[in-house]
């Protein structure tokens, strides 16, 4: 058994608004039985702006290590679509204090899923082929003011619309330190509630995800980029017939210097939503000081371009202390 995880403390100072401190604590519990089974669970313990503490299950799975190329996971898992959500979001791993635009909640990248997943790696020539395939309950649609405001994909234990989603990611590492990924998911989703209460028998509509990602480490540089989109189709006869597409991409480069104690980061991202107040372009630059490989102080500045007057348009200064333990 191993208790690991990460902790985060930060200060965020948006232009034209009050700065504030925030903190979160993410313990990860790992229980391994021989080379057969691994139990994994991560909690996110967070304080919100009212002072209340929330506890959420980020993921919790039982992993069956069936052979060298196949692991079967059952439970709640981070979405295997793309790279950021499943591997890069922990604060001590993410090189900037914030997630790329569109990779937060209700963005373009799915968060998590509850279901079963098969994944693993297969040696192929001098490289490795990786795969993840899953079936799960799928997302829910957030409806407000007669529109689909977003796609909630945090992983739901219930399946009110009775529809499932299948998806996965294929990756290939043709060279050391180079990885290319292709993700996709498809299924159906239906509106099951609005702010006014539950909705019965709303027709199902198509739900599709498509993503591409790449990362490469060369000559001290860490380069990566990702594109992902979530799309829901139109549904004749629905209380909200019109669907929508949420898509985003980012490109990021970082470089360590000063005996690898310092790190400079630049990231550009562009999130497009059917709702203009959600769309955002962002240039983020940062400097990190590494006290240890898993402990650092990050200072970042975001130049945000969103709808005028919206929070998405406010530049922000962020200072974050992150510790992976």
């Amino acid at each position: 058994m191993l208790l690991t995880g990460y902790a985060t403390a930060e200060y965020v100072d948006p232009a034209h608004d009050s700065g504030y401190f925030g903190a979160s604590f993410n313990p990860i519990f790992l229980y391994k039985y021989r080379d057969l089974v691994l139990g994994e669970g991560e909690l996110e313990v967070e304080i919100d702006d009212t002072g209340d503490t929330s506890v959420a299950l980020e993921y919790g799975t039982i992993d069956l290590l069936l052979n060298d190329s196949l692991v079967l996971l059952a439970g709640k898992f981070l979405s295997p679509l793309g790279q950021f959500r499943q591997n890069l979001h922990p604060s001590w791993i993410n090189k900037l204090p914030s997630a790329p635009v569109g990779f937060g909640e209700d963005g373009a990248a799915p968060d998590a899923e509850i279901g079963i997943q098969a994944r693993g790696g297969i040696a192929l020539g001098g490289g490795r082929f990786g795969y993840s395939a899953y079936v799960g309950n799928g997302p829910r649609l957030a409806v407000e003011n007669g529109e689909i405001e977003g796609i909630d994909s945090e992983g739901y234990a219930g399946n009110d619309d009775g529809e499932s989603v299948v998806g996965g990611r294929l990756s290939f590492a043709p060279l050391p330190k180079l990885q290319l990924g292709l993700s996709g998911a498809t299924g159906k989703v239906a509106i099951t509630e609005t702010g006014g209460g539950p909705v019965l028998d709303d027709p199902s509509r198509n739900y599709d995800v498509f993503g591409l990602d790449a990362s490469y480490q060369v000559a001290g540089f860490d380069l990566r980029g990702e594109y992902i989109q979530q799309k829901v189709g139109n549904a004749t006869g629905s209380i909200v017939p019109e669907g929508g597409k949420w898509d985003t991409w980012y490109a990021q480069g970082s470089y360590k210097f000063g005996s690898a104690k310092w790190e400079g980061v630049v990231r550009y991202g562009d999130f497009n939503s059917p709702h203009p107040e959600q769309s955002q372009k962002q240039l983020a630059i940062g400097v990190n000081y590494l006290l240890a490989p898993q402990a650092m102080v990050k200072v970042g500045f975001e130049v945000n371009d969103g709808l005028s007057g919206e929070p998405t348009d406010a530049n922000r200064l962020l200072v974050q202390v992150a510790y992976g333990f």
Binding site: L2, T4, Y31, L38, I93, G121, P176, P293
Partner: protein, 96 residues
Amino acid sequence: MRNSIKYSLLCVLVVGSALLMNFDARAAEGESTASTNQLARGAKAWSDNCGQCHNARDPGDQSDQQWDVVVAHMRIRANLTGEEARDILNFLQASN
């Protein structure tokens, strides 16, 4: 007659022991080579894969048992093959 049997047994023991010692030495040499190869493979797999997402942590930060669990966790996260995971584990446990 009795002496010749004794000498024969002695010869068999000496030659057999020599053969066994030689076999053991060769086996140990083979194991050592295999172990060295696995360490080299593990070091390369660790360098090629772990740094793709995060800063590489000091192998000395964790005990053998802790690395055993961490590497199983990371094998799943990084879609490593079982063989790569074993090589990395061997390298980390030999380096801590």
